[in-house]
């Protein structure tokens, strides 16, 4: 997978052009770097752990204007802003932050939207500590980076509370029809970009609500659905058509859609296939895939049962297997549904956990227990076929594996029993096989992921592009969006050339 390290020349010039503007240079000089470094990182206000672990409302409350401006003043406005190369979509981070310091929040939001159409979402769910904030020069100088994610969230929320969200100018209609498969972050991004360029875009989505993982997976307490719905409304204003309850490859194939006049396709169907451990007893009642558990609670609103019809099992002692964001979302959900003990069972140690650091901290505050270096080896059921215990084994860390993390090795003779009445398996997802299966011409890789040309995101089928988790396996929201942007620009070129080809 390509990692962007160097900032491309064109972007460097754009950054420099903004950097040299008079207001920027005045603002920069108004406070010395030394003074800026003295300002402490502004804490994100959050709800009390004992209150929030009982409901599904958002944990973080968002920075207030004053705090946001102060946080923005911490940014040194470096001549060589290394943070930008940490952002997969190369947001002009210093410019948006300095616009916050200046108090021009709306312009700041527009600046971000030049590169990232879903800032309210990314500000909340990006793993900033391993992206932009990791490379922030202030981190090198003081150890504590600028809270880039919190600021991104702030400007986006500010814009959302203003009545009229800015609608960019839309190019005159090109007459081309584009089909986007999947309404996750990858698909939503492609749709927005191509609609702005004047193409007629239809999103086909299998579920009854748009958003992909953002709607069925990530819970309300981390990403309020209102934020997502605002983004979807925005796409509709750009003229994007949404067709829900439509499974491409099942309800109609790509070939059928071609006959209906669709000229270019983007596959953003995600990594929807839950992995199980294939151990004894895994089909007992009370053992969920994280996908099922979170879908029941989030998409189907199982937390409001019986007002909503879909039930979800409530456990007193709930074990969640895994150490990523999915596992943390599941375990915190279990706590909120009333579990007395909600436990993470992870085969490596804390430092190897792939989840966002903020989520791990939040979980700890909320009373989540962590059993590191532990893995279940079988489940034991009661007379009704309901799980009642889990046999586990302890692990120790060996040499680093392909992912660079130290490989867990079972410790002989360390088996022990753990009583549980609910277990959630959150050990990863595989690419959704529906589309590759219905298109044998589509070249796929070892894990069932669709193979693409990384420069354009085009697949082995002409005019068919792909991005996000279906290409990368379980990755991140921002990488899915980044793929969407690359694909959209290549698709636009492809469509315009096809017009020329026709004319010639």
């Amino acid at each position: 997978m390509p990692e962007k390290k160097e900032i491309p020349m064109e972007l460097k010039e754009r950054l420099k052009c903004e950097y040299d503007k008079e207001w920027r240079s005045n603002l920069r000089k108004s406070i010395s770097a030394k003074e800026r470094m003295k300002i402490p990182r502004q804490k994100m206000p959050q709800r009390d752990p004992e209150e929030r672990n009982k409901d599904f409302n958002e944990v973080n409350l968002g920075l207030q204007e004053k705090k946001a401006k102060l946080e923005a003043a911490r940014c040194l406005d470096c001549a060589n802003p290394t943070c930008v190369s940490g952002c997969p979509v190369s947001i002009d981070i210093p410019t948006f932050i300095k616009l916050v310091e200046k108090g021009d929040f709306i312009q700041s939001a527009r600046k971000i939207k030049e590169a990232n159409s879903l800032p309210g979402i990314c500000g909340r769910v990006c793993p900033q500590e391993s992206q932009c904030e990791l490379l922030c020069n202030l981190k090198k100088a003081t150890g504590i980076p600028v809270a880039i994610g919190n600021l991104e969230r702030f400007v986006s929320d500010y814009e959302m509370t203003c009545e009229n969200v800015y609608i960019p100018s839309i190019a005159s209609p090109t007459g081309h029809k584009v089909a986007v498969i999947g309404a996750g972050p990858a698909g939503l991004t492609v749709a927005g970009e191509l609609a702005k360029k004047g193409h007629y875009v239809t999103i086909f989505e299998a579920l009854h609500l748009p958003g992909g993982v953002l709607i069925y997976g990530i819970p309300e307490f981390r990403l309020p659905k209102k934020v997502l719905m605002t983004e979807v409304e925005y796409l509709k204003k750009l003229g994007v058509e949404l067709r829900m309850n439509f499974i491409v490859g099942v309800t109609a194939t790509i070939d059928d859609l071609k006959k209906e006049g669709y000229k270019a396709f983007f596959i953003g169907s995600g990594a929807g296939l839950p992995n199980f451990m294939r151990i004894h007893g895994e089909n007992l009642i009370g053992i969920y895939s994280a996908n099922e558990y979170l879908t029941r609670v989030n998409l189907m609103k199982g937390y409001a049962f019986p007002e909503y019809d879909t039930p979800v099992l409530h456990g007193k002692r709930v074990a969640v297997i895994g150490g990523g964001n999915v596992a943390l979302d599941s375990v915190r959900t279990a706590k909120r549904l009333g579990a007395e003990q909600a436990i993470i069972v992870y085969r490596r140690s804390r430092v190897e956990m792939p989840a966002r650091v903020e989520e791990v901290n939040h979980a700890e505050e909320e009373g989540i227990e962590f059993h590191f270096l532990t893995v279940p080896i079988r489940y034991i059921g009661n007379e009704n076929g309901h799980v009642k215990a889990m046999e586990c084994i302890r692990m120790e860390l060996g040499e680093p594996d392909a992912s660079g993390r130290r490989r867990p090795i079972p410790v002989k003779g360390s088996e022990f029993m753990m009583e549980v009445d609910l277990a959630v398996v959150a050990i990863g997802q595989s690419p959704n096989p529906l589309i590759p299966k219905s298109n044998p011409n589509l070249k796929t890789g070892k894990w069932g992921n669709i193979e693409v040309d990384w420069e354009t995101m085009e697949t082995s089928m002409k005019g068919v592009y792909a991005g996000g988790d279906i290409v990368r396996g379980g990755a991140t929201v921002i990488l899915a969006m980044g793929d969407g942007r690359v694909a959209a620009s290549a698709m636009d070129k492809y469509l315009r050339q096809s017009k020329k080809r026709k004319k010639a």
Binding site: A206, L207, H208, Y216, N245, F246, I247, V250, T251, A252, G272, L273, P274, F276, R278, E282, N283, I285, Y288, S289, N291, E292, T295, R296, M300, K301, F305, P306, E307, Y308, D309, T310, P311, L313, N384, G385, H386, N432, P433, L434
Partner: protein
């Protein structure tokens, strides 16, 4: 959104639902199902497709009224919109010319077996149909099924028909009485019926396919709610099925898993009833 073209009670507790769904009508094959959600509060439930009509662009299902979602569906009228009606899901039945096929249907499966029997007949097989009802007034689609069958039987628990016996006994009798061999049995209905048919044919080694109906959520392989053990392997009914070899299914596990939400279902129904009949 899909418009309801017809919703009517066939027999007590079993309803027919015909919905305008042009894409599904164009593509669906015997044995496939749709996922339906009656309103924005509802559950996503699977319903086997019982018939379709390409000219009318319609898809028909027969459903048994059990939980809240099916109660809600049973109150919907012609012209109403169903917010979710998605499909056609699952693998179609493997229709081949194998000789004699015995199709068994009970409950909603009397409707669901119809396109299967029709397809086997069209493929040049001899089709024997056996329908199971508790009593005569619960039988529907008799003529429709007769029209695609070479032989027709009923098993019933009352004295109306001359065959008062459980389906598995009648099934055994048909198998034993036949001079020619039965090459395949295909059963759709409640889990118990499918289990009983599989048990009945096992000693004779007749291939017996069943169309399983576990609890589902998304229906596209995303959640794994519908996992079943078949021949010692975990399968997702929605994408690997719904048809499996009845002799290999772990029935005990399936019976248990189907009851996962038994108490919740009752609670949900009581809540809903109180809401609409205060």
């Amino acid at each position: 959104m899909a418009k309801i073209l017809r919703r009517e009670r066939l027999v007590p507790n079993l309803h027919l639902l015909e919905v305008h769904a042009p894409e599904i009508a164009k593509r669906c094959k015997p044995g496939q199902f749709v996922i339906v959600m009656p309103d924005e509060f509802g559950e996503r439930i699977p319903l086997t497709i019982a018939d379709w009509n390409i000219e009318k662009a319609s898809v028909t299902s027969v459903f048994l009224v059990v939980g809240t979602s099916t109660h809600k569906l049973s109150l919907m009228k012609q012209g109403d919109d169903i917010p979710v009606f998605v499909g056609p899901l699952g693998k179609p039945v493997d229709i081949n010319k194998c000789g004699t096929v015995l199709c068994v249907g009970g409950c909603y499966g009397i409707g669901a077996i119809y396109p299967v029997a029709r397809a086997f007949k069209e493929a040049g097989n001899k089709v024997i149909t056996l329908l199971d009802v508790k009593a005569n007034y619960l039988l529907y689609w008799e003529e429709k099924l007769k029209s695609v069958s070479d032989e027709f039987h009923i098993s019933s628990r009352d004295y109306y028909y001359d065959c008062k016996d459980f389906v598995q006994h009648i099934l055994k009798k048909i198998v034993k009485d036949k001079k020619e061999s039965i090459n395949q049995v295909f059963a759709i209905g409640c889990t118990y019926l499918m289990y009983a048919c599989s048990q009945a044919t096992k000693p004779y080694g007749i291939k017996t396919m069943v169309s399983l109906n576990p609890i589902m959520v998304d229906g596209t392989g995303m959640c794994g709610a519908c996992r079943v053990s078949v021949g010692g392997e975990t399968k997702f009914t929605c994408v690997d099925g719904p048809d499996f070899d009845g002799h290999l299914v772990d029935w005990e596990e399936l019976f248990a898993r189907r009851k996962s939400y038994f108490d919740d279902e009752i609670q949900s129904l009581c809540y809903w009833e109180k809401k609409i009949f205060p």
